[in-house]
Every structure is written in structure tokens, then in C-alpha cells.
């Protein structure tokens, strides 16, 4: 049990929890931000992806005690109005089926597009293969990432 001060989407939160509690559960159950999803709990599916100082991490596998001063951004904080190029592309391409996974691939792609603004198919394959979409929307995800990379023009 320990008290942690966290900054999630520019809002400060104070929680009193086990230092081992994964960030995912702090975000979901204590900060009440449920856009970050639980899929496996063992860093295999990517459903829980958030940004830690701008890098994509699997929040199910980062203990809250490891966060320190790092800024956390979740899907709710990716953009003010839900208009990040990837969010717009997800809408344009009509990617979701069940819609449970998307925050994972969107957060993963948002982080890597900063380093690789014009990824090739193969780079997308490699960078996105840590995100499982059980509904099989992979081709649409790929299309949406290309669309976002091209500034929304297909």
C-alpha cells in the first residue's frame, strides 16, 4: 500500500494502492477511464496500450510504482475532440467490428507514426503485430494507418 500521484491526460490523480498494481487497473478502476481495455494481462494483445511520456506501453504490465513523474496519455486524452488523424481515419475507413480493441492499435500507431510518419506495409505489419484484433479487421487497420499517414487523403 502506498500513495501515488499520477498525471493522466493532464489531470492529476492520487491513488492509494499496492505498488505492484498494473497501471491498467489504476487507469480503469481508480481513475475511471475505461477506454483502455483489458485483454490478456500479460503484454500479448495490446488492448491496454497507453502512452508513457509519448511511448506506447502495455499498461497491464507496468506496475504503478514504475510511473514516477512520467505523463500518461490514454485514448480519452489522445485528442481534444476525437480528431487525431488516426481517429479520423478509423472513422473514415469504418474499421471497428466489435470495437473493443481499437484504442490499442490507435495508441500503438499514434506513437510509432511520430517516428515513422510514412510507414510501409511491412513496417506497419511489424509494428502492429503486437495488437490482436479478434474480429480480424487487420486490413482496415492497415488502410487507416496509411490514410492517417497521408494526412487523411487516400
Amino acid at each position: 500500500m502506498a500513495v501515488f500521484n499520477l498525471t493522466i491526460n493532464n489531470t492529476d490523480y492520487k491513488v492509494d494502492v499496492d505498488p505492484q498494481m498494473p497501471l491498467l487497473w489504476v487507469i480503469r478502476d481508480f481513475a475511471g477511464l475505461t477506454g483502455t481495455k483489458f485483454g490478456c494481462g500479460i503484454a500479448q494483445c495490446g488492448a491496454c496500450t497507453v502512452h508513457l511520456n509519448g511511448d506506447a506501453v502495455r499498461s497491464c504490465s507496468v506496475p504503478v510504482s514504475a510511473i514516477g513523474q512520467q505523463k500518461i496519455v490514454t485514448i480519452e486524452g489522445l485528442s481534444e475532440k476525437g480528431d487525431h488523424p488516426l481517429q479520423k481515419a478509423w472513422e473514415e475507413v469504418d474499421v471497428p467490428q466489435c470495437g473493443y480493441c481499437p484504442s490499442g492499435p490507435i495508441m500503438s500507431a499514434a506513437a510509432f507514426l511520430k517516428d515513422k510518419p510514412q510507414p510501409t506495409d511491412q513496417e506497419i505489419d511489424n509494428l502492429m503485430s503486437g495488437n490482436i484484433c479478434r474480429c480480424g479487421t487487420y486490413n482496415r487497420i492497415k488502410k487507416a494507418i496509411h490514410l492517417a499517414a497521408q494526412g487523411g487523403k487516400s
Binding site: 500500500m1 494502492v17 499496492d18 498494481m21 491498467l24 487497473w25 480503469r28 478502476d29 481508480f30 475511471g32 477511464l33 475505461t34 477506454g35 483502455t36 481495455k37 483489458f38 485483454g39 490478456c40 494481462g41 500479460i42 503484454a43 500479448q44 488492448a47 502495455r58 490514454t74 485514448i75 480519452e76 489522445l78 476525437g82 478509423w90 472513422e91 469504418d94 474499421v95 471497428p96 467490428q97 466489435c98 470495437g99 473493443y100 480493441c101 481499437p102 484504442s103 490507435i106 506497419i124 505489419d125 511489424n126 509494428l127 502492429m128 503485430s129 503486437g130 495488437n131 490482436i132 484484433c133 479478434r134 474480429c135 480480424g136 479487421t137 487487420y138 486490413n139 482496415r140 492497415k142
Partner: protein, 715 residues
């Protein structure tokens, strides 16, 4: 051919909404019998709701559970089309379970659109006619001189026009018209177009709520420890350590299970780990190898009764100039919805609230009423959008557990399953073994076909499916193998595997008699059309239609250097699907380059949603054929998370090309039918390339063909 039989009578309920506007509710007593599926027999009342505000906004209720199959968008599109409103003025609301108002609030059997097509069109058209009648009355003109478009009524001769919003209050007082005319499909403006998933905006901003996100005042999170192996029971456990964990509020036990309750998900899961229960069994826990041995033994004899008998199988097989035999092994596979199982229950002294992801809300309510002796009227069921289900959420075990826990703990609870609980929790696609025998005559025509199978389920066949109808001597024999492992419908139940077995076997026969696999199938369908044998649940022309279409798309029979093709076709949920897979060798590994797919599902409602379903089903079918297998060691699942159970990932998903047969037939199933054919298309392409037949899944185990890399570590 007809999709399902719908007899109905209907009547309308009209009322003014509190905020002004018309509520149009339409009730149908419908009896509908989807065939070829594990869909529950439906004979319920259907009621579609339309609310029109004085501001012209139209609210359409979505009565069916949304599981990613797109019905929350597609069903209201049907109503909006006939009502003649602009889609941008439509608001969709998910309805709760209400069997007085609605019928078939079901997500399953690929049946939502096909059973709703007629009644939802009627509901929209009746609403439109009432608005027209109201305008005509106001203008003192004949209703048939008025037209509608995008939420307005027009009178051409006088140039008058008025919006629906300005008419609703009057319309609500008009008598309900009978036998309204439906739109000519040529005039469809919404149906057949591409409309984005209604919830996408909420989904991509993290606002969409799923069952797992449910949190209420005073609610406790709960996790349940269940017997780790099928066939075990709880002997004893010590809860002292668990109770000391931070945030833990209670520990309860029921039905050989232990539930830990507390203020957060992780804390209850963590505390549960400190409980080390003692389990016992009767010493007969089975492993995968036991199933295999016992299945083989079972198939040494025929069952007492056949599922289907045409002609004389013995004579047919004996008369063949060539005979064929093949065995196919089908593993258990879990559903693995992306959203792990969960459910909310709040059991109070005089009422129960249930809320969560459920494909059969009515069945859940009935089960709870019966099991917990609670009057049905006291049970309220709300449905959340579901993070997938694939059949798992047709069960009610997870609802029963939530109710038991809430009752014992006297608190509202959300029971959340770890992935390990979800994957290890049963209701799997049944493990099965299939043995086929066939014979051809001197012209290479199929004259005998014997299906003999055993599996952990009641019926491992779809006895009236193709090639039944096309073969003079055909017999289908199945055995049920009793096991403590629970099984259940898994996306396209049974179809998802027999399509692989039968389409592979047909391919083998075609090659064996030196016929082109496409031509061979078309010849069989010709035969079924000219001289049908016994009951046949497909239309040979539509079947042949998709085969011809996909052959043309893929350039079948034209040489593409280094590229090998395989074809497969299957009919399920009244929909015809044919696929051609292309493989080629890249640096010593066989790679799937592309899969072509032709679909005849009648009228397309939402083209974007339809393509998404077809593509998703193909990737799903491919992924499970390649990698899906759950094995057991002494009744205990060996794979319970994604580190050991491999799901298809982006780099393994090939491009697909999809075409729909354009016709005005009634819409048929689409959530499932594109899944079954894909495995055989790949297997047949691999045969074309290597001469090696894939006869068991997952293909990953066939090292001879796929030197696929083992599960990659985290990217």
C-alpha cells in the same frame, strides 16, 4: 428460395412522446425457423420502434444485441429506408430486453437481418404512410398524390411541402394504415450504401461502454476461482490470506467455485491467487490423446440410426471404379472474445437487475428465473455492446454466476474473468473426428459419399448440406462422445469444420478422377439441379453462381507463374460463399498471397458492414485453421492465454478481395458464412503447390508444409 418462414399478424401502438412526437411501435407475431444453425428456435413477438421528434430527428430502436456484427447500424437502416428519412437525422438507441415489444432479441445464427427484413420494412413503410396521410388530410388532397423524400412530404401539383417533424403530432392521431406498399428496391437510397458503424465515434474516443466497464454505486468487483480441470470438484480452501488483502470485501463459495469480492479488479484477482484450493476428481480425467484414441474406437462401428440415408451406401461404394477415403481431425478451440467474459448482477430482495454482454438476453432471464426461483417480471435485463462473442455469449453460465455471487454477497457485483478463466472456462468448439468414404463411376462422377463422425456434441454433421442432393448414394452417421468438457456453438457451428473436411475431400476426389476442381463442383451442382436426391437445403444455381464468380475473379485456370490456387465453397445460414486462395513460395516458406471471395447473401443492407463481416470471418477462419488448438492434460486446458494460444496477427492476415452477387433476394446471414470455406481453400491451394493434403487443424502442426515461426514474442 425462401430464407425462413415468417407468418405474422401485426398491429400498431401509437402514442405521443413526452417531449412531443410520434412513437410508432409495430408488433408482429412471427414464427421464424432459421435452419442449419444452432440458432434457438424463435417464435416470439417482434416490435420495432420509431420515434419522430417535432424537430424532425428520428429515433430508431435497435432491439438486437450488438456483438460486432453491425446490427445496431444495419437494422435501423432498413426502417429508415422505408420511412424515407435522411440518415444524418437518425439516432439509434439500444433497447433493453422487452419481450412484450420485441421478438428475437438475439445475436446468433446469423439471423438478425434475415428475420427482421420484412417486419422492419413494414414498420418503416407504415410510419411513412401515416405521415403521408396526415399531410394529405391537412392539404385536402389524395394521399396517393403525395410523395416523400428525406423526411419531407411533397405535393407536386400545388408545390406544397412539409417536414415529418411538423406532421408527427397529427400523424399520431391518424388511423393505422394496413397493407402499406413497400419501396421498389430500385429506389433504395440507404439500403446497399456504405454507412459507418453507428458507435465508431464513441469507440475511437474511448467513450463506448462495454460490460467490463460497468461500475455502479456500491458495486463490488468479483473474480471466481473455478475447478482448473474439467471433471474436478472443490474439496477445501483457506480464505484467511485473501481476506487480508487491501480492498477485499468478501469471499463466498457456491457450486464448487470460490468468489473473491472487492473494490477493484486487480485486487480481487491478486487476492484470489493466495487461495490454494484443494480439488478432487474421480480419477477419469481425460487428455487430448485419450480423446483421439476413443474417437477412433467409436468410429469402428456405425451408430444404430443414420442422420441421413439416400440410395444404398454399401452398393454405391462397391460399384465404384475408384474409391476414396480420408480422415480429418478437429481440435477443441475456445472463443476468445477480445472482451473477456463478465457480467453485472444486482440481486435485491424483490428484484434483480442484470446488465452486460449477452447474445441471448431472454434465455438468460428465463434461466435465472428458473434456477433462482425469481419471477420473470422481477428481472430486468440490459444489453451492452459486446467485445465479440463468437458464440460464447450464447451461454448463460456467466450470468448465473453473477447472480449467485450478488445474492451471496448481498451487493451489486461485476464478475470479471481473467483471460485464463475465459480461455480455460469451456464451452469450446467440440473436438471431433471425421472419416469420409466416397466412390466414383467410370465417368468420374460421384456416386457414393459416406460421412462418419464423432465429437463432443450432439450432431457433428450438417446432413442436408451439399454434396447431399447431388449424390445418389449418401449416408451420414454421427456419434456423440460424452465428456465433462463443455462445448457450445462457435462461429458457424459445425460448418466451421465440416466445410474444411468436405471441401478438401471433394478436391481430392476431383484430382483423383482427373477433373478440374471448379468444373467438378459445377457438375455436381448440375446433377443436384437436374436430379435432386432427398432433402436439399440449397439452391444449386445460386451455389454455382458464387463458384463461377470467384473463379472469374481469381483468374482460375489461367497460369500465374509460381502461384498455386485452391477453391472451396460452402453454404450456411442461407448464404452462398466461394473462395479461392493463392499461395506461393517465399524463401522456402509457403505464404498465402491473397484470398478471393464471392458471396451471395441476397440484398446487402450496409455494404461497408457487410464487407467488414466477410473479411473478418475470412481472417478468423484462416487464423483458427492455421493456429487454433486447445489441448488438455488430465482434463486441464494446456493453453489459457495468448502466450501459448496463438491468434492470427496483422502480419499473417493476407489481402482479400470480396465481391457480392447483386440481386434483390431477401437478405440472408452474414456474420458467419464467410468463415467455413477458407480453410479448405488454403488446404487445396497447398495441395496444388506441394501435393500434400492437410487433414487436420491447426495447419501450424503440419511442419511438412508450414515452417511457420512459433509464437513471436511481444513486438
Amino acid at each position: 428460395m425462401s430464407t425462413s418462414t415468417i407468418n405474422r399478424r401485426h398491429f400498431l401502438k401509437i402514442g405521443i412522446t413526452a417531449g412531443g412526437g410520434l412513437i410508432l411501435g409495430m408488433e408482429y407475431l412471427a414464427s421464424c425457423s432459421p435452419s442449419g444453425s444452432n440458432a434457438p428456435a424463435a417464435m416470439q413477438t417482434l416490435n420495432a420502434f420509431i420515434k419522430i421528434g417535432t424537430d424532425g430527428l428520428v429515433t430508431i430502436m435497435a432491439p438486437n444485441p450488438e456483438i460486432g456484427q453491425g446490427v445496431k447500424t444495419a437494422l435501423p437502416m432498413i426502417v429508415a429506408e422505408e420511412l424515407d428519412v435522411d440518415w444524418k437525422n437518425v439516432i439509434i438507441e439500444q433497447a433493453a430486453l422487452d419481450t412484450d415489444k420485441y421478438t428475437r432479441q438475439v445475436a446468433g445464427g446469423s439471423g438478425s437481418v434475415r428475420s427482421s427484413w420484412d417486419p422492419f420494412r413494414q414498420a418503416g413503410a407504415t410510419g411513412r404512410q401515416m405521415l403521408v396521410n396526415a399531410a394529405a388530410d391537412k392539404w385536402k388532397v389524395a394521399p396517393n398524390t403525395c410523395t416523400t423524400e428525406a423526411g419531407m412530404v411533397f405535393h407536386k401539383d400545388s408545390g406544397k411541402k412539409i417536414s415529418y417533424g411538423d406532421l408527427v403530432e397529427k400523424a399520431a392521431t391518424m388511423p393505422v394504415p394496413k397493407d402499406v406498399k413497400l419501396k421498389d428496391p430500385k429506389r433504395f437510397k440507404i439500403i446497399g450504401t456504405r454507412i459507418g458503424n453507428y458507435d465508431t465515434k464513441a469507440i475511437i474516443t474511448g467513450k463506448q461502454k462495454y460490460g467490463i466497464d460497468t461500475k455502479r454505486e456500491g458495486m463490488l468487483y468479483a473474480t471466481i476461482i473455478r475447478p482448473p480441470a474439467f471433471g474436478q470438484t472443490l474439496e477445501s480452501f483457506n480464505q484467511d490470506a485473501a481476506r487480508k488483502y487491501q480492498g477485499i470485501k468478501d469471499v463466498v463459495t457456491f457450486d464448487n467455485k470460490i468468489a473473491v469480492l472487492g473494490r477493484s479488479t486487480w485486487e480481487v484477482m491478486q487476492a484470489a491467487r493466495s487461495i490454494k484450493p484443494v480439488w478432487k476428481d474421480d480419477g477419469t480425467l481425460e487428455s487430448t490423446a485419450d480423446y483421439k484414441a476413443n474417437f477412433n474406437k467409436t468410429l469402428e462401428q456405425l451408430p444404430k440410426e443414420s442422420k441421413r440415408k439416400d440410395g444404398n451406401i454399401k452398393k454405391g461404394l462397391a460399384a465404384g471404379t475408384k474409391t476414396f477415403e480420408a480422415t480429418f481431425e478437429c481440435p477443441f478451440i475456445p472463443h476468445n472474445p477480445m472482451e473477456p467474459m463478465n457480467f453485472f448482477a444486482d440481486v435485491k430482495a424483490d428484484s434483480v437487475e442484470l446488465y452486460g454482454p449477452i447474445q441471448l438476453p431472454d434465455k438468460a432471464r428465463n434461466t435465472i428465473a428458473e434456477k433462482f426461483k425469481i419471477p420473470k417480471e422481477k428481472i430486468k435485463v440490459g444489453m451492452t455492446r459486446m467485445g465479440g462473442g463468437f458464440g460464447r455469449r450464447l451461454m448463460t453460465d456467466f450470468v448465473e454466476e453473477a447472480v449467485a455471487v450478488s445474492q451471496l454477497a448481498k451487493a451489486p457485483v461485476n464478475v470479471i474473468w481473467k483471460r485464463e478463466d475465459d480461455m480455460g472456462g469451456g464451452f469450446y468448439r467440440p473436438m471431433a473426428l471425421y472419416k469420409y468414404k466416397a466412390a466414383t463411376d467410370s465417368n468420374g462422377r460421384l456416386i457414393a459419399w459416406h460421412h462418419h463422425s464423432v465429437g463432443v456434441t450432439g450432431n457433428t454433421s450438417r446432413e442436408d448440406n451439399f454434396p447431399a442432393g447431388a449424390v445418389p448414394n449418401l449416408q451420414v452417421d454421427t456419434h456423440e462422445y460424452k465428456s465433462p468438457v463443455t462445448t457450445g456453438p462457435w462461429r458457424a457451428p459445425i460448418h466451421n469444420y465440416i466445410a474444411f473436411a468436405e471441401e478438401s475431400f471433394l478436391d481430392e476426389i476431383a484430382h483423383g478422377v482427373g477433373k478440374d476442381p471448379v468444373a467438378f463442383r459445377l457438375e455436381l451442382l448440375e446433377q443436384a439441379k437436374a436430379q435432386p436426391v432427398g432433402k436439399m437445403d440449397y439452391n444449386p444455381d445460386r451455389y454455382a453462381g458464387v463458384i463461377k464468380k470467384v473463379a472469374q475473379m481469381a483468374g482460375w485456370g489461367q497460369s500465374k507463374p509460381g502461384v498455386f490456387q485452391g477453391i472451396s465453397a460452402h453454404f450456411s445460414f442461407q448464404t452462398y460463399v466461394a473462395q479461392v486462395a493463392e499461395v506461393s513460395n517465399v524463401n522456402g516458406q509457403w505464404k498465402i498471397n491473397k484470398i478471393y471471395c464471392a458471396v451471395d447473401c441476397g440484398t446487402i443492407i450496409n455494404r461497408s458492414g457487410a464487407e467488414n463481416q466477410v473479411e473478418g470471418a475470412m481472417i478468423d477462419g484462416l487464423g483458427h485453421a492455421m493456429f487454433g488448438e486447445l489441448t488438455l492434460t488430465k482434463g486441464k486446458p494446456d493453453q489459457t492465454n495468448y502466450d501459448r494460444y496463438r491468434l492470427i496477427r496483422m502480419r499473417e492476415a493476407p489481402p482479400v478481395e470480396i465481391a457480392f452477387i447483386e440481386n434483390n433476394e431477401k437478405p440472408t446471414g452474414l456474420g458467419e458464412p464467410a468463415l467455413p470455406p477458407v480453410a479448405a481453400a488454403i488446404g487445396n491451394a497447398i495441395f496444388a503447390a506441394t501435393g500434400h493434403r492437410l487433414r487436420s487443424q491447426p495447419f501450424m502442426n503440419s511442419e511438412a508444409v508450414f515452417s511457420v515461426q512459433k509464437q513471436q514474442s511481444e513486438v
